[in-house]
């Protein structure tokens, strides 16, 4: 297709993209101009709900609030779902990171008041019960991996394994991000649609997505991803791939309009790109993977499609790039749907009748063991490449190639 023909055919689309980009840029200018950051010497009061476990060392627990480091006493320990009211003075501190001296803002040992975390308290109980079932049945390493894969709760993972996941480029599977939601929704949809009619399946999938978001504690990246996934799946009731694409773009656009800072948020980038990948590639990959058992085939194709959509972000998001990580992802990703299905089933069983969850987790255990051992083994072999500053051009190039491949298929 010649460029002039392309413009002629997609005149409206190009015009729309330009208008949306302009609106977003204006919003971004206002956002940057009106940003209100805390300053040294200022006394601040705010509430904080722990949607992820605080960081800990021997003496302190700490978390970040608007980029300010907040240090708390080591005990009492705060956990996921706890809400505190904080009052303290922002001060400038100097810390050492490797050989560099780092100046930053911090609030040290502020006044604290425990607050009622409302509906989150119920979620906290459900989530803790699921995590407890995992911990009490499996070794810590495998339980942590399972918690990360199913609920994005990676706090049970020890430092050594966390480093190994980082080195091998597999950390993305245990982070509470949009890609977890996208995977869960894709899997739910393929599972339910094999039992009931397509339209009902979409409805149940949307309900399932929000139940999952509830379990992960309505963590903001998860909620955003849930909204995007719901729009995308919802749109499938009314139309084709094109409608789903439009729904995804509109939901993404309005989120950016409300909160322009999301454009650099890795969770947002992952949710958007993974959902995009599923809408565009899931069916094709499913057709190409006929040799797989039916129940895994759909989940496998969903996983791979999400990966294709979000690869540049996945590769760049978690530290340095190890060239081998592409290979490691390929040899391990097939276990994720299986682990998710068994882990999810064990979690639900654990809520109702904990003893039932033990045999399910035992069957899941060898897959987890395979995952942890391959990651540990492969972490000794790295082909590190430094691509500082190359993220943007590589990402753009990657998506141009993807779009070109899609246009060649001419089925849009």
């Amino acid at each position: 297709m010649r460029f002039s023909n392309f413009l002629k055919n997609y005149e409206k689309t190009v015009l729309l993209i330009l208008i949306f980009s302009l609106v977003f840029l204006i919003r971004l200018v206002f956002f940057v101009a009106m940003k209100d950051n805390p300053e040294a010497g200022e006394t601040v009061e705010f509430s904080h709900t722990f949607l992820e476990e605080p960081f800990t060392n021997s003496y302190y627990q700490y978390f970040y609030w608007h980029g300010v480091l907040v240090t708390l006493e080591r005990f009492p320990e705060y956990h996921y779902g706890d809400k505190i009211l904080v009052r303290g003075v922002v001060e400038e501190v100097v810390s050492r990171k490797e050989n560099d001296l780092l100046k930053r803002l911090a609030i040290k040992n502020p006044e604290l008041k425990k607050a009622d975390s409302g509906a989150l308290a119920v979620v906290k109980v459900i989530r803790q019960k699921v995590l407890s079932v995992y911990k009490r049945t499996l070794p810590q390493k495998e339980a942590g991996l399972l918690s990360g894969i199913v609920l994005g709760a990676g706090e049970g993972i020890n430092k050594a394994f966390n480093d190994e996941l980082k080195t091998t480029g597999m950390l993305h599977v245990v982070v509470a991000s949009g890609s977890n939601v996208v995977l869960v929704s894709g899997m739910l949809f393929s599972l339910i649609s094999s039992i009931v009619k397509r339209n009902y399946a979409i409805l149940f999938t949307i309900l399932g997505i929000f139940f999952y978001a509830l379990l992960t504690g309505f963590d903001s990246p998860v909620v955003r991803a849930s909204i995007m996934a719901s729009f995308a799946f919802g749109a499938q009731i009314f139309g084709r791939q094109k409608t789903a694409l439009m729904a995804l773009f509109f939901s993404g656009f309005f989120m950016l309009l409300v909160s322009p800072g999301l454009i650099v948020d890795i969770g947002f980038q992952l949710s958007f790109s993974a959902t995009l990948g599923i809408i565009l590639f899931q069916k094709t990959i499913s057709r190409l993977s006929q040799i797989l058992p039916n129940i895994i085939k759909e989940d496998f194709s969903t996983t791979i499609a999400a990966q294709i959509g979000s690869s540049p972000f996945l590769l760049f998001a978690f530290g340095k790039i190890n060239l081998l990580s592409i290979f490691i992802n390929l040899i391990l990703l097939w276990t994720i749907p299986i682990i998710m299905i068994f882990g999810g089933a064990a979690g639900v069983a654990g809520l109702v009748f904990p003893v039932l969850s033990v045999p399910i987790l035992y069957i899941c255990y060898p897959f987890l063991l395979l995952f942890t051992n391959v990651v540990s083994f492969m972490s000794h072999f790295t082909i590190p490449i430094s691509l500082t500053g190359a993220f943007f051009p590589i990402t753009v190039l990657y998506y141009i190639i993807l779009v070109a491949v899609l246009f060649r298929r001419k089925n849009l």
Binding site: N57, S58, F75, P76, R136, P139, I295, Y362
Partner: protein, 284 residues
């Protein structure tokens, strides 16, 4: 039908793992493991099918300096199907000795907990005691002269602290529970962080000991020349973290060990597993 295959494969591997773990556990009558938890103590004992944990090291990712925690160590040495610890002992209320217990309670069922008398007001320790009470774990205070029998041939003799000690010395290290653990002819002394002025008196009365844990991670406060005057263990254990901020083990202590030509092992090289049949033992 195709989904059955991976499940059958998984099930077969699972059975194989469980059988290997069962046979492995049955073959070892007495196992003593000094866990590599970084700067801190965590000692696991499996004696005649009973699981005992003496100290829990620092909490996971709690700054002990090690890559793994006490729970990882237990996972390595206890079979998958065994999620119960019959006895847990905290030698004293220092974070590098009890911090990991909070994690252990999340993963294992603990039947009994023992520690020295006196209530520490350290916040984390209070949190631990509350958690233990909440879980219905039986709590016992142990003092010099107490004896705990485990199975038919394993004994834990409490050598320290004396009951009336709390009026004399308020240093937390000196409230450390010191244990003489015996299985048939095999014996080990576990010293917590007790100061040498008290420890040397206790050691003076002991006969031959196979394994000796140096007090206070090899600090000069726990060991001096006098420590080994009448006492010569087969192997001494240093439970210090790599590049720890206290400089443990101290240079003076290492000089004594080298001068006296004493065998020693350090947890900085990983977990130290000692297996005994009651007469001989192997350490690796």
């Amino acid at each position: 039908m195709k989904i059955i295959l991976p499940i059958i494969a998984s099930f077969t591997i699972l059975i194989l793992i469980l059988v290997l773990q069962f046979v492995g556990a049955e073959n070892k009558k007495f196992t003593l493991v000094f866990c590599d938890v970084g700067q801190g103590d965590a000692i696991y004992i499996r004696a005649e099918k009973y699981d005992i944990l003496i100290d829990g090291g620092p909490a996971q990712n709690g700054g002990g300096g090690a890559d793994e925690s006490v729970v990882d160590c237990l996972n390595r040495h206890m079979p998958l199907y065994d999620k119960s610890i019959e006895l847990m002992i905290a030698t004293h209320a220092d974070l590098d000795h009890y911090g990991g217990f909070l994690d252990v309670l999340d993963s294992y069922t603990v039947d009994n907990f023992a520690t020295s008398p006196g209530d520490s007001e350290v916040k984390g320790y209070v949190e631990l005691m509350n958690k233990l009470s909440g879980l219905g774990v039986s709590i016992r205070r142990i003092t010099q002269g107490d004896k705990i029998n485990v199975g038919e041939e394993t004994t834990l003799d409490v050598l320290w602290p004396p009951e009336e000690f709390y009026d004399i010395d308020s240093d937390r290290n000196n409230t450390s529970v010191v244990l003489l653990v015996g299985y048939k002819d095999f014996s080990t002394v576990l010293t917590g962080d007790l100061d040498k002025e008290y420890l040397n008196i206790l050691l003076h009365d002991l006969n031959h000991i196979n394994v000796f844990k140096l007090s206070h991670h090899g600090s000069r406060t726990g060991t001096n020349e006098e420590t080994f005057e009448n006492f010569r263990p087969d192997v001494s254990i240093i439970s210090a973290g790599e590049n720890n901020r206290y400089g443990h083990p101290h240079k003076e202590v290492m000089e004594i060990l080298n001068r006296e030509n004493l065998n020693f092992k350090s947890t900085t090289e990983g977990n130290i597993e000692i297996v005994s049949n009651g007469k001989t033992f192997t350490a690796r």
